[in-house]
């Protein structure tokens, strides 16, 4: 069996096993699906997408009319929360896709080229990795100015170093295997080897790391928006709602509770999903600590 075929078989087998036997996987997937469906519904269903000030009074406690209460401008918190979930997920997913592309390319090239190329990529990654994530994100956001672009760039720069290192390590093992050596000796072009043989064999690692990067992205977006550097009003995001809720924690606690718990659920679901995927796609890294 070739490396490509072996990898496909492993990934497919792992995913098939997930489909049949892992309640944690299904719970996490269910939670994420629910959040995403809710945010889509929030944008499409009349009544849920009504964020105008005339909806209710200011800081109304949760009621039948407003299940999550209202915010400081009398807007339905449910509508704001659903919009916020969508914004946070869209931003985080976009950032993770960028991260996955950049980190995978860097990691594979570094592993395949080896030598100085690998040292340079990894050491730059180390330098970036040495900064606390939120501090690095703040530096970028402060340089670019507050907003969604700053949040996206921050997330990418925060998540790229770790993912590059993980993909690079996985790719380094792959490039030493016989089928890669054979391809090199046979004169197959380097880009083709990196895509056909290396990328396919590190795909599992990329998927697993992307899920972890997604949880970091949600957290970084939350942190930046909470501090005023991320998503700006009148848009809504989980971090922005948490920031507003923090000010009114004593008088209107429902804002912080709703946004904070949603963020916890989202991050928990993504992390659980990542763990399940790791157990199946990278079984050697799953360590039972008990």
């Amino acid at each position: 069996m070739t490396g490509t075929a072996a990898s496909r078989a492993t990934a497919a087998g792992g995913l098939r096993k997930l489909r049949t036997s892992d309640p944690v996987f299904f719970t996490a997937l269910g939670m994420l699906t629910l959040l995403i469906l809710a945010s889509v519904a929030g944008r499409l269903i009349p009544g849920l997408n009504d964020g105008t000030s005339s909806v209710g009074g200011r800081f109304e406690a949760p009621s039948l009319a407003h299940p999550l209460g209202t915010d400081g401008l009398g807007r339905s918190l449910l509508a704001r929360l659903l919009e916020g979930i969508g914004t946070t997920f869209m931003l985080s997913l976009a950032a993770v896709v960028c991260t996955a592309i950049i980190a995978t390319a860097l990691g594979i090239i570094a592993a395949y080229a080896g030598g100085w190329a690998r040292e340079i990529v990894m050491r730059i990654g180390d330098i970036l990795y040495a900064f606390p994530a939120i501090l690095l994100a703040l530096l970028i956001a402060a340089s670019l100015g507050p907003g969604g672009t700053a949040a996206l760039a921050s997330i990418v720069l925060v998540t790229v170093p770790l993912m590059t290192r993980m993909v690079g390590a996985a790719a380094a093992q792959v490039v030493q295997r016989d089928f890669v050596t054979n391809a090199r000796i046979s004169g197959v072009a380097a880009p083709l080897i990196m895509v056909r043989h290396v990328l396919v064999n590190v795909a599992g690692t990329v998927i697993v790391q992307a899920t972890y990067a997604l949880s970091v992205a949600i957290l970084v977006e939350g942190g930046l928006s909470f501090l005023g550097y991320g998503v700006q009003l009148p848009a809504s995001s989980l971090g922005l709602l948490a920031s507003e809720g923090n000010v009114y924690m004593l008088t209107a606690p429902w804002i912080l509770i709703a946004s904070g718990s949603t963020m916890v659920i989202a991050i928990l679901a993504v992390n659980l999903l990542g763990d399940c995927l790791r157990d199946r796609l990278e079984p050697r890294k799953a360590v039972d600590l008990t």
Binding site: T52, S53, L73, G74, Q232, L233, V247, Y248, T251
Partner: protein, 536 residues
Amino acid sequence: MRSKTKTLTGVAVVAALVLSACSGQNGDSDDAELDLPDGYAAYDDPSADSAGGTLSMQLDYDTAETGGLDPATAEIARSWTIMGLVYESLVSIGPDFEIEPELASSWEQPDETTYVFDLQPDATFSNGRPVSADDVVGSFERLLEMAALWAGQLGPIESIENTSEGDAQQVTITLERPYTPLLAALANTPAAILPMEELEAGDFDPAEEMLGSGAFSVADHRQDEYWVFEANQEWWNADSLGVDELRIEISGDDQTRLAGLRDGSSQFSNFSNPDALSLLESAQGVTAASQTQSDFFYLMFNALGDSAMADQETRQLVNAAIDREQLVDVALAGAAVPTGVTPANLPDACSAETLQSATTEVEAGALEGMALSLLVYNSDPSLVAIGQVVQQQLEAAGATVELESLDYGSYADRVYTAQPGQFDLALGWFAGYADPSMVTSWWDPDTAIFNAGFMESHDDLNAAIEEARGLEPGEERAAALQTVCELVDDYSEMVPLATRPQVVGYRSDSLGITLLSDEGYGDFLRGIVDFRMLES
């Protein structure tokens, strides 16, 4: 059964304790409010002893860095407040916007164009040199020669002369024609008296350092981070000062300042968020007070750009689509009132309800197809809240509005620096001052050069502004100011929305403060010379 009764009793006791703890401060506050003299939102007997020591406070933002430390060129209210700790003007503002002595111990007006000021005999700069009439004359001449923005508020000054006789220091200001707001204009920090002898000798650079005759002198400062002031022992009333050292930390986050008050790490904070009053209600040892401001929020239209806002009728329609009552109720927690150009809480102010924008009904869809940008700066939470409500109101009328929340530098570049401005609509706020005919000056772009990028100069409006400034308070002036308000509403290039509330919170268990109930220059520290540190 017994166990259940015990549990219920326990819950009731805990609930009672919590409720009593929460309500304690409110009772104290209410009692304190009952004793307040007229014109004060908070009052502490200035003759009572102070324990002295360091007063720690947190403010939401610092002076404008670009303006340096020169009071003559200070253009924002926070610069006036901070610089006002060090510098003195001839006069100040007291309760109900009355003009009070400061560096001038008294003044008289022998005719309607002449003002004679006698200086405090003991007035001394913090370097120990007595303040002279020449410092006053030199400071005003410098202000006028610099063509600083505030020079436009001093009116038609013909001459400023040193008329001292003997040791008594006296200055006479002569006007070309009557100008009612002169004293209110002299009361602001840009009209502060500088040590001209040192300045002219090159020993003192007002842009880099502060040397005044006020109650405090600067010990340390890092822009946008902190200030440390020390009591100025040379101040003419130094014995009455209740604070030895003043530490001001700049903290833009409302929650941080609220937490600082709650845990006692800060003894005084300001909030532009009117909800701060309710947020501090349950904080033990903290009292919050609301100050009525003549300051007000306004909406700018880019009449000189290439958008739909270049058309006067469209601007009028957009102006009329804004429901100011809803804006006050929703964005300002009901703690403000709609206003015309003349601040609603000043005498002779025009009636905002009678203006065309207030009486015109705008139908849904009237602004259909219009795409507008609305700029706000994100350091003022009230401005962002108003922006969201305005956005929703205009969208209800059919427009598509993109609300851009920017840092102040980016905002100022697009609104004030760019010629023409790079925006359709923008929100800001003005100090309303102590005389209703002062702020009207900013509707003349020849005087308010910062507006030249988005509004035109109109002869009829300028003439109406000028006429009102020459009239004594009363019916005639009220009528003239009503004309100004109507013209401003008609041109709809810069329209007032609502007054701007201000809340201060302080640790009433360790600090007694004096706060005027009405303020016109955003100066919530005007009464700091009467602050008193309490024994812990």
